[in-house]
Symmetry: D2
């Protein structure tokens, strides 16, 4: 990672000869200085993926102009693409319930500027963390999710997200299942942390399931939320070793360490435009 | 681990007050010098597990007499128990198909006496490794498993295992499904290495399944074979990180490293009497 | 780990025949119900180590009486021993400077009762975290450490530790070197987290040293503080993978995740009486 | 990794605007189809690194012509570069002493074509593995290294390496220190596996050193051999967890698993032209 301001171009397109030459040729033509870059060809379906960091000051124009000048080439290559400025902080909305480990972890990373983001607000179906969040100067919204009127609750979540111009929604152990409408509204923009090594132990109480099966490692999975529960594209996973002496409660405790770490890594990859969704899989240029 | 000769007592029994005192009291009474020992109480179903290493030379009698003297106490405690002598090599029969990684790995460990066992023979449904195995001075049996007469093949495997007085059967990437009869004949004595992090990706072609789902880690599982395919008690598991650039072939290659390591660890735990089966789970005193 | 109240006996003594039998015999005689227990014989210098959990309600007396009744046996075995009650929370004093990751992590674990301790107070040479700590209802003391009068500062730290009857002092990235007097006053009671995989990169700026040497993994070490800088008995260590694209700043960031996790694990082992110091090494009954 | 034949261009040069565009422009101009590629800018000393895979059949000429056509551009960019053909097997010479774990591991990988190399010969200062190696159809040379005439021995090693046109020399637990002349003759072409997590425990008996210090993890390091013992550029490292119950012998045993795995990974990176030496460090495009 570089300290100086840079732009990150993330893109994919059908594979053909000359893609890198044309894209980097365009950049070089305008004096663009490339820092890290990485390219990947998917053999199976002939799609090409790339992530390119360009020093901001090396280009003679800003992003708006880059976008308009680059568009014809992108069109020609049938490219899905985006470019972001490291100097523009992304606006993240955090959803949380009653467990603190992911929330504390995210706020510590935000506090130390390790995560260089705006936390636009925190939304919870409980008011447990109101004081803690507000002490940090971050707005907190208590949005209960009553069993008989979930639709209204999710509408309010969406309204708040729109109101603060959120870029990314993070479910930091939010113990509610978002409505299909909400999932569909923000594809590739809602991250969840699931407390199992998916696809093992889909659904409720994964640690109980793991205990019953007698596995020797438990894990966590950070994935994009889609309408299919626990089925979205996986961004990051990790595991931790347990043994026969660990109860379900011990597994919950160990699991928290993995959950918060995997969520933080997945979120970082997402925020740094390292993740490109590819069907139900991801390309992650770590 | 200790270099001097020792006996290993492995046992489980219903939990009650005074178990350790009575068992170690019996040992101390005869001058038995305890090296490593470990005890575990399973809270849920009130069962107690133990593994105790006793210096052989500290006892005034041999194992046969130990067994007869200890039996009354074991009866009184309703104990499942066994005691083994580190100086008596266990007799292992290895089953293999056409992949070499686990076989080479086991033979290297046997060659260096790291695995202090007798490899009584190697059985394969192919003759690929005949020369290699025989070069090591180990008998090799080619037992084809024709689709229309598997029963005869498994009967022959069982006959060979009995003939060499095998203690343990190791499926070192043996690409056949043992008959229910064979599985039932040797509960807790047949080890398999499965090329996925069970219970993910049960059944055939787990690496293809993992590729399709887009997981970020792949794994392997060493378990006891039971009649239910890939469902037996898990002894050991581990995982390795992959990414989007890894093809199924790459995953197969990475997987081999995990498979051979996990099999070797699981086998060692088994041979050192560190594993106690508990329903469909295991207690592993590593 | 067990939910019910229990006592933990941790001890070491010269090795001889019959130690376990005598100790567990004493416990059984009084009806003591043993949960988890573990014993280790150190071959090299003939010392025996143990950790035994006994259900509190199974004994007919409390700890004070246990202590007096057990003392004669302990004397006879020349035992160093202690016994603690899971219902009595240990009093921890946290020292911190300006980095938040370990502090946030410890407070999240304390908040969720995952770490079942009293945080008696937080002491810092800066006032950065005053508001954050006090918001949690924990006293905060700003004790500057001026270069020309460190002795007075450490005397104040010690006074505060004594005043709150501290059991354990945790240096949670406290960027000052404690005085030899303070180290000597609390052997085996002060834990530090060092930001390298000791003994690599002793002293200042370990991440810079690691960057210069081109290592592929960086680590962290939780150890007891002694008068010899970074030389005390190691309790726990872990590592994380880096590569050529990681700057020193990236390594610092990755390192934080390892530091807080390793500190939390080491502290938990210490608080649960799982650590026995043995010369400059530790026995850790995880 | 790709199955089809490809060329791998590995290069580094002083950083400037337009490097990727010019290099990939050259390739595109001749119809070259790029598979995986990766670029890295070293911030500190302004050097640029790259690794590019090009489908062999997409180019209208062979490597000799590529080399002569590309040279002017390489000169212009002041580039250190090489290009290799995946269809040309590299010729590896393995040096070994009396420990089998790395040798068995390498031969299993060679046997299964996982390592797609020629093992030109095996050289040893003992004759332990003569039969085993020859059974595989690989020439074996016993070259004793007498204390009073090491120079002659190393001259013979060099003569054999030249005779078979060796590309890479692998010290697979070769327990002799190569002469400075031999090290200097093949910079970046001799790989060693060191049995510690360097820079911890440099020199002899690293496991004894690790045991004495009481570390909780042990490791292994694959590095290029230079004249400075255990100081060469590190290619790959890994660690494994140990605890107080592990003797030096146990550590040696655990260590073997790490050693063979780390050596195999480092060797693979080297053979696939993923490693670029950069001063005393490496860029590894995994």
């Amino acid at each position: 990672m570089h300290r100086e301001r840079f732009y990150t171009l993330s893109a994919s397109c059908p594979d053909q000869v000359g893609i890198i030459a044309r894209v980097t040729g365009f950049i070089a033509e305008h004096g663009g200085w490339i820092l890290e870059s990485r390219f990947h060809a998917d053999d199976l379906d002939g799609r090409y993926f790339m992530r390119i960091e360009v020093k901001a000051e090396s280009l003679p124009f800003h992003l708006a102009e880059f976008r308009s000048r680059f568009q014809p080439l992108a069109n020609d290559l049938q490219m899905d693409w985006r470019i972001n400025d490291s100097a523009v902080k992304k606006r993240v909305v955090v959803l949380v319930s009653k467990q603190e480990h992911c929330l504390y972890d995210l706020l510590a990373r935000w506090q130390s500027k390790e995560l260089d983001i705006e936390i636009a607000c925190v939304i919870s179906n409980h008011d447990t963390f109101k004081g803690f969040v507000e002490w940090h100067g971050i707005p907190f919204h208590h949005v209960p999710v009553p069993a008989d009127n979930k639709a209204a609750a999710y509408a309010e979540v969406q309204r708040l997200f729109e109101e603060v111009h959120g870029d990314t929604m993070v479910l930091a152990r939010y113990m509610q299942i978002l409505s299909p409408e909400l999932c569909a509204a923000y594809p590739g923009r809602i991250l969840n942390i699931h407390h199992s090594f998916l696809p093992s132990f889909v659904g409720a109480k994964p640690y109980h399931q793991a205990y019953t099966r007698g596995v020797k490692l438990i894990g966590a999975t950070c994935h994009y939320v889609t309408e299919a529960l626990d089925q979205g594209p996986i961004i990051e996973q990790d595991v931790i070793r347990i043994d026969h002496s660990d109860s379900v409660e011990d597994m919950v405790r160990y699991g928290k360490d993995i959950e918060k770490t995997v969520l933080a890594r997945g979120l970082r990859y997402h925020l740094e435009d390292r993740v490109l969704v590819h069907g139900n899989k991801t390309v992650v240029f770590r």
